[in-house]
């Protein structure tokens, strides 16, 4: 019995007490408050507040932009992870460290500098705006900001899996006459798939809740420029608390569904690694 074995160490009561106290005050009570307020709404009112036209437009932008951003993350993230694990080249360690940069950079700064880069006079906008690609204050800008913020997820989920991938299996496939493409599609891709999906789900989940970087680069106009967290903010500024709570509940429900999916995916992925 492992429980017996551990009993010799002191401090369980104290540390567990402190943990329970912090958890209750910082997480459980705030959560309960929101849930109680949400339960105070009748189902009819909730539905009206959560699905009015402006809210639906906000969900549409949030989910579509998050989805595009997560897809972009999968494509470039897989490529970056592959290159970092498989190849040796000058600056590899630097790039490896830089991958975490979007995590370390405060979201407000990310939004500020990305918006600036894609405006007409910005370093990238100078070339892109004449081509008709407007990154600042458009839905495309939202996708750009969300891609930046979610960048590290796919890379960091894939890296350990790629490192553990057995070269022998690929070599066997090659010996059996499979071409490079064939080896990738039928040997490597199936092993990576669960991790790629996990990375996608992580990036998507992060993108749905993201606020800081998007407010700077989006037009923030109702119907087409507002993301769901921004609309919550608007409702609060108009002292429409019930409206804000209804939207928050919808976001929370989606976050928890995604959390569940991520857990299942991670378990699936861990089967491939052992």
């Amino acid at each position: 019995m492992p429980a017996r074995k551990f009993n010799a160490l002191p401090g369980f009561g104290l540390t567990m007490g402190v943990t329970a106290f912090f958890l209750t005050v910082m997480v459980l009570i705030p959560f309960a408050g929101l849930v109680i307020r949400a339960c105070g709404l009748s189902w009819h009112d909730f539905w009206k507040l959560a699905t009015n036209a402006r809210a639906l437009a906000a969900y549409k932008l949030t989910f579509s932009a998050s989805c595009f951003a997560a897809i972009a993350n999968v494509i470039f993230g897989t490529l970056v992870a592959w290159v970092l694990v498989r190849y040796e080249f000058p600056g590899r360690r630097f790039i490896d460290a830089m991958v975490d940069f979007p995590f370390a950079l405060p979201t407000a700064v990310a939004g500020l500098t990305l918006a600036n880069l894609f405006t007409e006079n910005g370093w990238l906008g100078k070339f892109l705006v004449p081509l008709g690609i407007k990154g600042a204050f458009t839905p495309l800008g939202v996708v750009i900001a969300l891609t930046f913020v979610g960048m590290p997820f796919v890379v960091r989920t894939l890296q350990p899996v790629l490192e553990h991938l057995e070269r022998e299996v690929e070599e066997a496939a090659a010996t059996l006459g499979a071409g490079r493409m064939r080896t990738f599609v039928s040997v490597i891709a199936p092993t990576l798939l669960p991790s790629i999906l996990t990375g996608f789900a992580l990036a998507f989940a992060r993108a749905i809740g993201e606020y800081g970087s998007v407010v700077f680069i989006s037009s923030n106009k109702p119907f087409g420029g507002e993301i769901a967290p921004f609309l919550i903010m608007m409702r609060l500024e108009q002292y429409d608390y019930t409206g804000a709570i209804a939207l928050a509940v919808v976001l929370l429900v989606f976050s928890f569904i995604l959390l569940g999916i991520i857990n299942v995916l991670e378990q699936w992925a861990s089967h491939f690694q052992s």
Binding site: F12, T15, L28, P106, P229, L251, L252, L258
Partner: protein, 299 residues
């Protein structure tokens, strides 16, 4: 093929990771060094810098106390509901920062559960009345910051503490050391890099948090603006030079991000090396492991 892939990956990282960073400093110094220093010494920006430091100085140590306790209980003992506890600790990571801020408005705002009560019960100190304000004041900012940074320290410490096991602590206790002595001289040294790692990540997020703080702060210039909020109000200010001033404040936050990344990379290297040494010491015949004890992500 190899070099094509490397080129695309490098180009992507340059445009998407390096360019935004360089742009922050280019824009911040675009009007010259004098304008940059003026922007930073502006009293309202200075107040924002001070508030950011104060908020981090309160919320990070509290989260360290929580993180160390939670890691000790979870890593060193077996009990029912452990995985539920871990899920609950991780919960703040899955909540949108704006929703997190909203939770505290619901609790302490004027229309919230505690708001009216707090207003009727000011603090009496030395015969004077002090109104307790949480929302649109510093306490709310601290609470929101603590919520979003809640899991960081615990998350980094739990795997490191689990990996070290309990044999060393039990040996110390058998030799007559007290619980505290064992913790200070046995446990803490063996997890110190993981702890520092967690503190660095926690601090970076605490100083840079925007969404949750934005909801509870009220944006009172010079009083409840943290640095990220100051960046926003300067950016939206629209007066001459306020754009560059926004970048000047942002450059400090970008510098913080760079320092964080540098320390993080150093700690990962350090821990990987110590882990190898430890493995060679225990099992010299076995090839040193390359596994990292620290998790590489900080969501």
């Amino acid at each position: 093929m190899k070099w094509v892939l490397i080129t695309i990956a490098l180009a992507f990282c340059m445009v998407f990771l390096l360019l935004p960073l360089v742009n922050v400093f280019a824009q911040a110094f675009g009007q010259g060094l004098k304008a940059y220093l003026n922007a930073l010494t502006d009293p309202d920006s200075w107040a924002a810098i001070r508030l950011t430091l104060i908020v981090a100085a309160i919320s990070v140590p509290l989260n360290v106390i929580f993180g160390v306790c939670a890691a000790w209980a979870i890593a060193k003992f077996n009990f029912r509901g452990k995985s539920l506890l871990i899920t609950l600790i991780d919960l703040p990571f899955s909540v949108s920062p704006v929703v997190a801020g909203l939770m505290f408005v619901v609790l302490f705002g004027m229309n919230g559960f505690m708001g009216p009560w707090l207003q009727e019960h000011p603090l009496h100190l030395f015969g004077k009345e002090y109104p307790i304000k949480i929302i649109f004041a510093v306490p709310g900012i601290v609470l929101a910051t603590m919520f979003v940074t809640f899991p960081f320290v615990a998350r980094e410490l739990i795997p490191v503490m689990q990996a070290t096991g309990t044999e060393q602590e039990q040996a110390a206790l058998t030799l007559g050391a007290s619980g505290w002595t064992t913790f200070w001289h046995v446990t803490l040294p063996s997890v110190k890099w993981g702890l520092i790692y967690g503190i660095i990540l926690c601090n970076a997020r605490a100083m840079g948090e925007f969404g949750a703080v934005s909801v509870v702060s009220g944006h009172i210039i010079g009083r409840t603006e943290t640095m990220p909020l100051r960046v926003q109000s300067l950016y939206e200010g629209g007066s001459v030079g306020s754009g560059a001033a926004a970048f000047a404040v942002a450059s400090l936050l970008a510098l913080l991000a760079l320092i964080t990344l540098g320390l993080k990379t150093f700690l990962e290297w350090k821990q990987a090396r110590e882990f190898e040494h430890a493995q060679q010491a225990i099992m010299p015949e076995k090839e040193a492991g390359t596994e990292f004890l620290v998790q590489k992500d900080f969501r």
